[in-house]
Symmetry: C2
Subunit: 623 residues, 2 copies
């Protein structure tokens, strides 16, 4: 691994698990605050201060400051008593959270003092410009040639916005038939509902005077919603997709889950079957969601195969909108882009990663199917990507990217499109997005992250690498882990080889073929590794958990369940498996020596938890 | 005005227009940061720091810190060059923004270091608890007996969530007819679509085992959307209502604007006419929006009369859901609540306000019709209220409140309702709201504000009072203002007596009866009072502007246009009036001596701007 002085050192970008960089943080914070205070002081220096020294000496002033301090004290106590130590280098192995980038924290703190509102350029010239730049950076990350993006409050809303795009675009040909029939003459309703997004955008662009009338007759009018067809999401579907279908008015009855394989990735053969069956009934497909980094498994759907299927179906006159939900995994694409924003050939990937210090070891961490899936994201119409997940930016910062900037006119308000002079920044961003008022500080925060860590292999790629390598260490560790408690032997089994940086795993008592008992054991481990059993601050190992149940997952978990030694019948009886779940976001567990230090501690902590659990069992069975 | 030492002193709660309290801010900030750093250092003290002194001395570390400083420098320069001086005591008279509460800034900065995510209790125990408390505080502010509320990213989304509630609730009786017909036997479709929210909630509660099936057949399924009827919003409608109707799938074709009177308040007679006409055609009313603090005028719709109309209509079997969009004016309700959370009788209001220091002068500032409107908010099903507007909390912090906590089960996900043990906090808040991931820091920020300034006349009431009194001073100032430029006399005319704290106004050249010319003049004043003409930092008077055009406003502006001396014909010819607009949020302009100091400066600045505008006119006409 190269360690040239010009390389980015990730350890300089976090406050640190032991606040090692706390003084750097404080120094920069104070400098920035001073710059803001100076700005206030020097604004119209001819104006005298309103708050006088006399007033500041008054009783009411002092009492109010005291009151404020009391309130802040209570907040401090509550925060310190009941917060999750995401910052730890190696004791938190649960939800997708970790400490966040120092430059983002600082930029947020600083920009917040101005309280800009990015809903309108006028309310936030500086941060509106930053959000526009971030949007283009997102588009470059997806290799979109003519894309656009913006920050969204969170991934659920970005998904909803993606569905809004799909719904309104899909309805445009029907609107054209009503408003400008000559534009789509000769097309059947089926053909109108199977036009590609590009065709639709081209047609719309060809009639600039009619755009407003066509939009007014689109799905936004309330018409034709029932005609637009089905919305297909992988079986691993995050509940935000159900909410989105509910809210957008197409309805849950139109959501069809697509089975996933035993790696929890969308099964493209099943997808094709469903699509062809629907087409045979003349039911259109509104769109299909591919997930890049599923919430519970970190699985990466085969976006390449989904895009290829779309090409095949096109020959049969079938089209679907493709949205990639990369809320979690989106920043992962940086690992594949070189400093010229070109996608690195797979055969060079391992060497480039080692050379650039993405991984500390010269190993193949990235599966070729994952590589192919990432590459094909550029073929999707829209992508959800959350800076507050793998962007290591503090909450709330989600994002959406669209492939074709023209798409934004389909959901926009106001007949006259007003832009900032000399720029392509909308004067009123709120008219082009789902949300209204939004913190300018968020844009500053994401912008700071992107400008310290460019969205390629030399920037964010290194951070992604640290997380991925840490997850592989954890995976290998678990793979060889077992415990003895009394006369019981308890083995640990990871669920799948990680597509990205998530490791699911179970504890199994050897020789016990009761799946329900195993589920109970894992739930107990979770209870002892979370807030459920008291102080989080004092807990030496923390994790999260999830259930895979037949109603949602079908038989996808069966292969794993069988491997554990449970029969098909036992699976049908219990109908679910409880697994523990670690999104390995800590940036510190990539180095072997760091990991090994914590591995020992984790072992001890788990041994202790298991002993408590089995001791409790004995007590219960004695009663 | 009382000035006891125990009173809150608002001047202690802001950094100050000249950063007068900058050192207090810094001291508290550093204390809090130290508390956080100490928390990290003392977490598992047996773990050695990962980031070593050796590493911190490395070239790559130093270079990375330098890179971070470069990026922060650029952000600092951009922020200082292109931000709006909301913090000024008396030079910004435009958009609804001002400096924000110091306790909120501090709480945000602090809580952000933990990066809690309020989507789930597990990810943010401390701040989830704070959000739950804030929700109940919102409910008390609206005098809801059994209400609930939560923080939303912004008012547009809160409005969308309100419409989501209305849509899904309205559809429940149709779903009951399908799933549990015995529950609604004998009711016609018209009757089903005119049941009150309370009746519907009571019925739903009566069949606990059927709730999930009924919900599954509700509007969330995609069924019956077209049957739910019309959504009525005042003519002053914010575009967020159009977006919401688009997104929620009922469609823009179902949005009916209700005319406003010449005070820009919803005309309840017109509302009744529309409702009765729709009812005569058997078209149901999905719901009606009342606005408390319209975006462009600060107008307060007569919520009391709307609620009374609903009672009258009930006798004729007509019902509509009532949502109050108090995104802007919601916190204003604090001015009417005493310290026991009782609504202060109108006859006592003036004296209580003077006694509590809400106003510096013992005057009638609050109109009785405004008082009545605020009081009646408790009769609405849901209310939008934005802490980041009149809550003086930094972006982004919106909010929604519901009258009946049972309503949240109508939009919730997951069959099993999981709550935190011993509390009524949902384990997964994301399943009960529109959004997903959300910053815990926002909750800390709003909580801090509410706990320093309770939501009654002695807390937020004082802050509201400072803003309202400042707006009256500005109104009176403009009312008597005129300028001489060469041989022209230019008079200023405020639009209406402020319902709340907003003052719209126009410049008019005396004797010039060309409305187009007046619009141009006002647009020029705006250009010279905004970023359009260069540096905002150096501009001595800043304001915002808006247009009232016939397509949106009908003839509501005509009375004002006539008063200015323009004929009806001239109004029909030009079809719009451009007005300047000041949301007076500065908390410093309530005191007479402060205002007078700035009034002189504003006069001078405006004189200068007008002279430039008229000089340019001459140049143009000479060419």
């Amino acid at each position: 691994m190269s360690e040239q002085g010009n390389d980015l050192n990730l350890n300089a970008l976090f406050i640190g698990d032991k606040a090692e960089n706390g003084q750097i943080y404080k120094a920069l914070l104070n400098e920035l605050v001073d710059e803001h205070l100076g700005w206030r002081q020097n604004y119209m220096p001819q104006d005298m201060p309103i708050i006088t020294p006399e007033e500041k000496s008054s009783e009411s002033f002092k009492n109010t400051v005291n009151k404020m301090e009391d309130v802040l004290s209570e907040i401090s106590s509550r925060m310190r008593s009941h917060s999750v130590p995401w910052h730890t280098a190696g004791r938190y192995w649960g939800h997708m959270n970790s400490e966040t980038l120092m430059p983002s924290l600082l930029a947020y703190n600083f920009a917040m003092l101005w309280n800009g509102n990015n809903v309108a350029y006028e309310s936030s010239p500086a941060t509106s410009q930053m959000e526009e730049e971030v949007g283009h950076e997102f588009a470059h990350l997806m290799s979109y040639k003519n894309g656009w993006g913006h920050i969204v409050a969170d991934g659920s809303l970005a998904n909803l916005e993606g569905l809004w795009y799909a719904r309104n675009i899909k309805s445009l040909p029907l609107a054209m038939k009503e408003v400008t029939p000559e534009l789509v003459s000769g097309k059947s309703e089926w053909e109108l509902l199977n036009m590609s997004t590009k065709e639709i955008m081209d047609l719309l662009e060809s009639v600039p005077d009619k755009i407003d009338d066509i939009k007014a007759a689109s799905a936004r009018s309330g018409k034709n919603l029932a005609k637009l067809g089905k919305w297909l999401v992988p079986q691993t579907k995050h509940y935000s997709w159900l909410k989105a279908a509910d809210i957008i008015g197409i309805g849950l009855d139109q959501v069809i889950p697509v089975p996933v394989d035993h790696n929890y990735r969308l099964d493209v053969n099943e997808l094709e079957k469903i699509v062809r069956q629907l087409a045979a009934e003349q039911t259109p497909i509104l769109g299909v969601v591919g997930v890049v980094g599923s919430t519970e498994e970190g699985a990466i759907d085969p976006i390449d195969k989904m895009a290829a299927l779309r090409d095949v179906l096109a020959k049969d006159g079938i089209y679907f909108y493709l949205h990639v939900d990369a809320a979690y995994g989106g920043y992962g694409r940086a690992i594949f882009l070189d400093e010229n924003n070109d996608f690195i050939p797979f055969e060079n990937l391992k060497d480039v990663h080692f050379e650039k210090g993405v991984f500390t070891e010269n190993k193949n961490y990235i599966l070729e199917e994952v590589y192919n899936a990432y590459r094909a994201i550029e073929e999707a119409e829209s992508v959800t990507i959350d800076p507050h997940k793998m962007g290591y930016v503090p909450y709330s910062a989600g994002g959406i990217v669209i492939q074709d900037i023209r798409m934004r006119d389909v959901i926009s308000y106001f007949a006259t499109y007003v832009f900032e002079k000399g720029a392509d920044i909308p004067a009123l961003l709120g008219a082009y997005i789902l949300e209204g008022s939004k913190a300018g500080a968020t844009a500053a925060s994401v912008w700071a992250a992107h400008h310290v860590l460019p969205l390629n292999v030399a920037g964010y790629g290194k951070l992604m690498g640290a997380s991925i390598e840490g997850s592989h260490r954890f995976f290998n560790f678990l793979n060889n882990l077992s415990f003895k408690v009394g006369d019981k032997e308890i083995e640990v089994h990871p669920l799948t080889y990680p597509d990205f940086n998530m490791v699911d795993y179970v504890f199994k008592e050897k020789g016990n073929d009761d799946l329900e008992a195993m589920n109970k054991l894992n739930h107990d481990v979770y209870d002892y590794s979370s807030y459920v059993k008291g102080s989080i601050y004092g807990n030496e190992f923390l994790t999260s958990h999830t259930d895979f149940a037949i109603p949602d997952y079908g038989d996808s978990p069966l292969q794993f369940v069988n491997q554990l030694g449970f029969s098909d019948a036992e699976w049908r009886r219990v109908e679910k498996i409880t697994v523990l779940r670690a999104s390995v976001m800590t940036p510190y567990m990539n180095k072997a020596e760091n990991f090994e230090e914590y591995a020992e501690k984790i072992k001890v902590a788990l041994q202790e938890k298991l002993e408590k659990i089995y001791a409790e069992k004995l007590v219960h069975s004695a009663h």
